[in-house]
């Protein structure tokens, strides 16, 4: 997969647009304003002592960027990387991090009225990183809270749930 750089867009045009990626059969969306670029899988330098989901660091044109395996972050089983595996480089509050995902599909616009709160049922099995649910036609996209992906505190609450 070639590098594909998301153009810098105006605040207005970025609003309501989401980058959709998939893990297993689920489709997730993250707000495009956080996305810096998308690259194919790279050589990752592991560092010992990190939680399992932090795979290590990569060299992105001279910048050292930590990468997180989103599958592992979601407590799913590790899957070997292949040519469809992507790293989404995000910038969250000035912290650059790469998110390893199974594949990236598209950028879509989801109108505000199509975004709904999570139904407040069955809290235990709920994925805490999902903030909202967006509808595109009949399909559902799980919209992620990027900041939560990075913060460590949610680790514990996740452990309790699992």
């Amino acid at each position: 997969m070639g590098d594909m750089i998301v153009d810098v867009m105006d605040e207005d045009t970025q609003k309501g647009r989401y980058l959709i990626f998939s893990i297993d059969n689920d489709n997730y969306g993250i707000e495009i304003q956080f996305v810096v670029e998308i690259i194919g899988i790279q050589t990752i330098t592991p560092i010992s002592g990190l939680p399992e989901y932090v795979r290590g660091i990569i060299n992105l044109r001279g910048k050292i960027i930590p990468v997180i395996d989103v599958r592992l972050r979601f407590k799913k089983a590790f899957k070997e990387y292949n040519e469809r595996t992507c790293i989404i480089i995000v910038d969250i509050n000035g912290i650059n991090v790469g998110l390893i995902v199974d594949s990236v599909s598209e950028v879509v616009r989801i109108n505000e009225e199509d975004i709904s709160e999570l139904p407040n049922i069955n809290q235990k099995s709920q994925n805490i990183f999902v903030k909202n649910i967006g509808k595109i036609g009949n399909e559902v996209r799980l919209l992620l809270d990027c900041a939560k992906l990075l913060s460590e505190e949610y680790m514990e609450s996740l452990n309790e749930i699992v």
Binding site: S48, G49, L50, I57
Partner: protein, 690 residues
């Protein structure tokens, strides 16, 4: 007060300018402090600085700063116009330094975008009161005869065989320099011409000078000079002076003399070191007085300097680092293997040259002289010696030595601690010093010099030194050591760097809480520096900080462990070798050790330590690298060495550093093929192993 809506850049500019001016001001004040005299230039300088601060603070409507600077300006305007012959210097300095502190606090508030609410009324009152005192002649000088100019002729003969008569003669002139207004002497070429020593030996050294001092004072002053056998001091009149002036064929005006001094001062000092300490000391204090003054003038006149934010420089540095790596990626590209490319190689070497130069240039841009940091210490010494009733003279050597900007930030605090310690613990009170037969005034030397790839910063005092016995007792008391047999002096001194250590019996405002020295050690180690301590009881202590010139690029040895690459700073590598099986010892707990030339060192397997998969687990297949930090040594086991290389150090991403479990990695670097190598933190590896 600043409800005025100014934009941020304006505020930043104001902060930058004002704090620079304050620094200049502080330097002027401190230089007069050692002179105990304000020259016309000093007064003008203070006046100018205060005027500027007044103007800009008024523009920014910072009322409190404006009030103070206005009052000080008034005060100095009076001094400038009336030039009161009074002994006001010391108390005035206290007052002005208070004002500087006040404005600094206000600036701090402004930079935090807080309300500038300091109350300047009290200080302004004090300034006004001071001005009144001045007008009412409250600070009359004690010696009343300073109005009349006396002219003396002195003939000095030196003891036979004291050698270097011309240099000794020069020191006579130099010692007089502060208290005279005009001087002539014969032979006039004592500096340039070594032959003059012969003349002095035969005829004595003749000098005539004008001074405000009395004959007795001058006599006292001159007779102190070393090796003086005979001194004739006679009063002469103006006419004789003029006559002698012509007679001496002395074409040197005072300015010329000054220049000569500058040139020869260095040699002068060196030659005087052995001869007499107080002499040497006088010389230097003279030099001191002149230096800061010159500096402030330079900084105000040089215009073609721009200030750049460090952030931009960091980015530039990063980019150049990337360029170097990209270059290596192109030039060592595997696609080129086996091809004969003469023209390509030619252009490539050209490119390498340019990138090399660029890299050096960028590094040099980031280098800043230590002078600002050093001069800050002057203030600390002054304040402390006043409070503790000690007489301390701070001498600064090599302030022009340059180090990386980042490093300066890391050493300012440690230096402050060391200077405080030296003044508080090291140097005794004047009474104690007299009893010990030392000069009343304690001496503290702050020195910086380049040694190879390091900068050595030396804090040296002539105080009471470190009491080894006391250190050992205290260390035992605090449970830092069990027994103190077989400890070398060096090891004993190192104890004071341990956390929670203080031999000072009581806690003072400045030191004694036992935090401090370990902070110093930590800060210095964090930037890859080392500390060494030397001390001699009753003669003083010398603490040397050995600091790398720059953090950005280090010499490293790359090693391979499984698929991972690690880099060890070459500085800490002692040797590398292939281990013999019979040298390996395993203790009952499974700890491996190796005997090298009769010494036993712990072994650390990198693949185990960093949890890396590798096929090389047998000692005879891999390589041992002996690394040491200070006195401790560990042998590190890796698969193989890749080679030595200059590496651009990059810090680990903040996100990674947040995980506390990341151990013994101080940073990372990019290799020629674009892959990442982790830089080992030798100090923490060794600590882990012990």
């Amino acid at each position: 007060m600043s409800d005025f809506n100014t934009n941020d850049t304006l505020i930043d500019l104001f902060l930058f300018e004002t704090s620079q001016l304050l620094e200049q001001l502080e330097q002027v004040i401190l230089s007069t402090d050692s002179n105990n005299y304000y020259s016309e230039e000093d007064i003008n300088e203070v006046f100018r600085i205060m005027h500027t601060i007044k103007g800009s603070s008024a523009m920014m409507s910072y009322r409190s700063i404006f009030d103070i600077s206005h009052a000080v300006e008034d005060l100095f305007s009076y001094i400038r116009n009336n030039n009161p012959k009074q002994d006001y210097c010391s108390s005035l300095n206290d007052l002005i330094l208070n004002c500087i502190d006040f404005i600094k606090i206000e600036l701090e508030k402004i930079s935090g975008r807080k309300n500038v609410d300091g109350d300047s009324a009290e200080l302004v009152e004090r300034i006004k009161a001071f001005l009144d005192d001045l007008k009412n002649n409250k600070f009359i000088r004690l010696d009343g005869n300073d109005e009349t100019i006396n002219i003396f002729k002195a003939v000095v003969c030196f003891e036979d065989g004291c050698q270097m008569e011309n240099i000794r003669a020069f020191s006579v002139v130099y010692n007089l320099y502060d208290i005279i207004t005009e001087i002539i002497y014969y032979p006039s070429d004592i500096i340039e011409n070594d032959e003059s020593a012969e003349v002095i030996r035969k005829e004595g050294f003749t000098t005539c000078f004008k001074t405000y001092k009395s004959q007795d004072e001058i006599y006292e002053h001159l007779i102190k000079t070393l090796f003086v056998k005979e001194l004739q001091l006679t009063k002469i009149d103006e006419e004789t002076f003029e006559y002698l002036k012509n007679n001496f064929q002395n074409n040197q005006s005072e300015e010329n003399l000054d220049e000569d001094n500058d040139i020869s001062r260095e040699e002068e000092i060196v030659s005087l070191i052995d001869s007499d300490k107080s002499q040497f000391y006088n010389e230097l204090s003279n030099e001191e007085k002149e230096k800061p003054k010159n500096e402030t003038h330079i900084s105000t006149t040089v215009q073609n300097i721009i200030s750049v934010s460090v952030e931009k420089l960091d980015k530039l540095m990063d980019l150049v680092g990337e360029l170097v790596i990209a270059e290596a990626m192109v030039l060592q590209n595997p696609d080129l293997d086996g091809l004969k490319l003469d023209n390509f190689q030619k252009s490539a070497s050209q490119l390498s040259k340019i990138t090399n130069e660029l890299q050096n240039l960028v590094m040099s841009v980031r280098m800043v002289p230590l002078s600002a940091t050093f001069h800050r210490m002057q203030r600390i010494v002054r304040d402390m010696s006043k409070k503790l009733n000690k007489d301390v003279h701070l001498e600064i050597v090599g302030e022009e030595t340059e180090v990386d900007k980042n490093i300066i930030e890391h050493i300012t605090d440690p230096l402050m601690h060391l200077v405080r310690n030296a003044v508080d613990h090291g140097i005794e009170t004047p009474e104690e010093r007299e009893l010990m037969g030392k000069s009343k005034e304690g001496k503290l030397i702050l020195e910086a010099k380049n040694v190879g790839n390091d900068v050595h910063i030396i804090v040296k005092d002539d105080g009471k030194g470190i009491d080894k016995k006391k250190v050992l007792e205290k260390a035992k008391e605090n449970g830092l050591i069990d027994s103190f047999e077989n400890m070398s002096d060096e090891e004993i001194y190192r104890l004071i760097l341990m956390p929670g250590f203080s031999t000072k019996d009581s806690v003072t405002e400045y030191s004694g809480r036992g935090v401090g020295m370990d902070v110093v050690a930590n800060n210095i180690e964090a930037i890859g520096g080392k500390i060494s301590i030397e001390s001699e009881e009753n003669h003083g202590t010398q603490i040397t900080l050995k600091i790398p010139l720059t953090l950005a690029i280090i010499d490293g040895m790359n090693l391979k462990v499984g698929k991972s690459t690690f880099t060890i700073p070459t500085l800490s590598i002692k040797e590398s070798f292939r281990a013999n099986k019979q040298d390996i010892i395993t203790d009952p707990n499974g700890n491996e050790m190796i005997m090298v030339r009769g010494q036993c060192y712990p072994v650390l397997r990198l693949h185990e330590y960093f949890d890396v998969e590798t096929g090389v687990t047998d000692f005879s297949d891999g390589i041992m690298i002996m690394v040491s930090q200070e006195t401790k040594t560990v042998c590190v086991f890796a698969d193989r060495l890749l080679g030595k290389q200059q590496v651009v150090v990059k810090s680990l991403p903040q996100y990674i550093k947040r995980f506390n479990n990341v151990k013994s990695i101080s940073g990372c670097t990019l290799l020629g093929d674009g892959s990442i190598s982790l830089i080992l933190d030798v100090a923490s590896i060794i600590n882990d192993k012990n």
